[in-house]
Amino acid sequence: MNEKVYQKLSDILKMPVTDANHADRLDQLSAWDSITLLEYIAFVDREFKIAITQQDIEQCKTIGDLVKLAEKS
């Protein structure tokens, strides 16, 4: 499961993403913006049928937080 998530994050953040990046802060990543955010939300909805809300996203500060969102059940 995480494989798909890391692949998608690598794609949209334009950098290789693995579990070593969990502490990376989103606000330090040049590719993280309002559209990348929507890309990730659409991906998690399609792949895992999880609906991420505006509130969920506002609480995400790191790549690890984003990965955790895809694990919500």
Binding site: I35, L38, I41, A42, D45, R46, I52, T53
Partner: protein, 316 residues
């Protein structure tokens, strides 16, 4: 009795906001980045003293300039706006006078956004099918810019002002696009998706993630329902004209539904999201480019604030 979409014209206000100007003010996105992310290059902004009725007037006058006999034939006005010039009276009544239409007509406003044009066509079709009207002037006119905070980079990037005027008639003249089956959808639980309060915060707020997920969930279902209802298939439709919100959501939808790119109209770069005007603007441009020849099966798909959605078929 059939109802036909026969004429369309549109008006865009003079002031243009470019990506460069946005970048000058908000330095996180370059003009190129804006364009590549949301597919918008410019959007038009109404002047401070220019109202939605003013814009509607201009759009309708453009339409009548090209077909003067239409003015006296109008027997009903449907005015779609969420930024009315007056709390009361109806903008449609004010417009009747400004356009010097007959006083022996009906006129009313209805309050919808991105789904508004399709709802307008459906209402017009009903009026004609029931013999209550023969030539309906359908207006879409929006000045969302008046609700957007100057510091709100996202909304200022996405939305543009403008107005359109269309005629729906019981006669197959002009574009002669017969209005076919319609599907509707409404979900008020998503009201916060796009909201301007009355008496509270006067600014437009958008829940991007909420709107995105709703759109990706409901729009494909609605299209499937409309195709089933009308006995059509995805492939039997020649062109799809969706509400032109931005290229990001349009491409997500196109991909999810499986519509071939050559059938899928994207015409948002020069206008941004003009709300209920996006579909008629795209249709008018198609007509001007000679892309609305016969035979033709079009699907119009509107979705957004409400949450509200609707789709219809046009055919000739």
């Amino acid at each position: 009795m059939s109802a036909y979409l026969t004429h369309i014209n549109y008006y865009l206000p003079e002031t243009i906001l470019t990506n460069q100007e946005l970048s000058n003010q908000f330095d996180d996105w370059t003009p190129e980045k804006v364009e590549s992310k949301v597919g918008i290059k410019t959007r038009h902004l109404a002047a401070p003293d220019e109202s939605s009725v003013d814009m509607a007037y201009e759009a309708a006058e453009k339409l009548f300039t090209h077909a003067p006999a239409l003015r006296d034939s109008i027997d009903f006005v449907l005015f779609c706006t969420q930024s009315p010039a007056y709390v009361l009276p109806s903008s449609a009544c004010v417009l009747q006078d400004r356009l010097k239409l007959s006083t022996h007509i009906g006129a009313l406003d209805f309050d919808l956004g991105c789904s508004g044009y399709v709802y307008g066509l459906a209402l017009a079709k009903g009026m004609i099918a029931s013999g209550q009207a023969k030539n309906i002037l359908l207006i879409t006119a929006e000045k969302y810019s008046q609700y957007i905070k100057p510091e709100d980079r996202g909304l200022r990037t996405l939305f543009g002002d403008g107005a359109t005027a269309s005629i729906i008639s019981d006669q197959p003249k002009g574009l002669a696009l017969s209005i076919g089956d319609v599907e509707f959808g409404t979900d008020g639980s998503g009201a916060n998706g796009l909201m301007v309060e009355q008496g509270g915060d006067p600014h437009l707020h958008m829940d991007g993630p909420g709107i995105l997920l709703f759109t990706l969930k409901e729009v494909p279902k609605m299209i499937e329902a409309l195709l089933a209802k009308s006995g059509e298939s995805l492939d039997s439709i020649d062109q799809y004209v969706f509400h032109q919100a931005n290229s990001f959501i349009l491409e997500k939808l196109r991909d999810k539904i499986g519509i071939a790119p050559e059938k899928f109209v994207i015409d948002v770069a020069d206008y941004g999201n003009t709300v209920s005007s996006t579909i008629p603007i795209a249709l008018k441009n198609l007509a001007d480019q000679g892309e609305l020849g016969s035979p033709q099966k079009l699907m119009l798909v509107g979705f957004g604030v409400g949450l509200s959605w609707a789709a219809c078929l046009l055919q000739k």
